[in-house]
């Protein structure tokens, strides 16, 4: 099955981001394909490279960046990002800023869209 993911909550503050990541790992392990991951609302905070958590905790933006390195399309909504100060300068590698049209494309090209939010 081809799946896309919508992340609506920021890192650490809410479980949605971790749940999305764990869901993706489980889906990939079962042989499903991830067409793309779209970060919206406070979800855009997931992908700042300025993030610097304690070393014994998970590094959420690095995790997303590593997923992007495998070829999964990682997109941050430009309108939501502008509102919150997430720009190309602070973006983690393998992630791009684009418009909500990319979410429409992901939906069009996937069998399922799974939303992780509050």
């Amino acid at each position: 099955m081809i799946i896309s993911i919508l992340v609506l909550e920021g890192p650490y503050n809410h479980e949605a981001s971790d749940s999305a990541y764990n869901f993706i790992q489980a889906a990939l392990a079962k042989g499903h394909a991830i067409r793309g991951i779209f970060f919206y609302d406070d979800g855009v905070y997931n992908v700042t490279r300025l993030m610097d958590p304690p070393q014994d905790d998970r590094h959420i933006s690095r995790r997303w960046s590593e997923l992007g390195a495998t070829g999964i399309d990682m997109v941050v909504c430009i309108a939501a990002a502008k509102r919150r100060g997430i720009t190309n300068e602070v973006l983690a590698p393998n992630i791009r800023i684009s418009g909500l049209g990319q979410l429409a494309s992901m939906i069009h090209e996937s069998d399922r869209i799974v939303t992780f939010g509050d």
Binding site: L8, Y40, L100, H108, S110
Partner: protein, 133 residues
């Protein structure tokens, strides 16, 4: 108008002003309406509070989105529904909910169509995707 594509539903479940969920879901509706999809929108659970008349966010110091909500039809977001039980549970009269636009010819206000849960469930079952806010 472009050929309509896959059936996509946006659900609005959050109350209107405690978070940005409803506001940013409206931005999704506006953009999706420009794409080739058969778009529908359903307000349910606390999401129906967004349809409560007379909301004004000036005192909150928030720009708010009531103007956008009142212009959904102008943006070609026309298949808009509200869950009957959610309205009832929150004491909102079905005939009091806000208009989402005006009829081009008569100028009569257009309101979200109030549906029973079973009708909404049947619509959901027919969707290619549901995007939940």
């Amino acid at each position: 108008m472009a050929q309509k594509g896959k059936k996509v539903m946006v659900t609005v479940r959050k109350p209107p002003h405690g978070s940005i969920y409803v506001q940013e879901s409206i931005e999704v509706m506006f953009i999706f309406a420009t794409y080739e999809m058969d778009l529908s929108v359903v307000f349910l659970d606390d999401g129906v509070l967004a349809l409560h008349p007379g909301q004004d966010t000036k005192e909150l110091g928030i720009k708010g989105f009531m103007a956008s909500l009142g212009a959904l039809v102008d943006w070609e977001v026309t298949n808009v529904y509200a869950d009957r039980q959610s309205l009832k549970d929150r004491g909102i009269a079905e005939d009091a909910i806000i208009a989402i636009g005006k009829d081009d010819d008569s100028g009569a206000p257009i309101h979200p169509r109030v549906l029973d849960a079973a009708e909404i469930a049947a619509m959901m079952a027919a969707q290619h995707s549901i995007v939940s806010f």
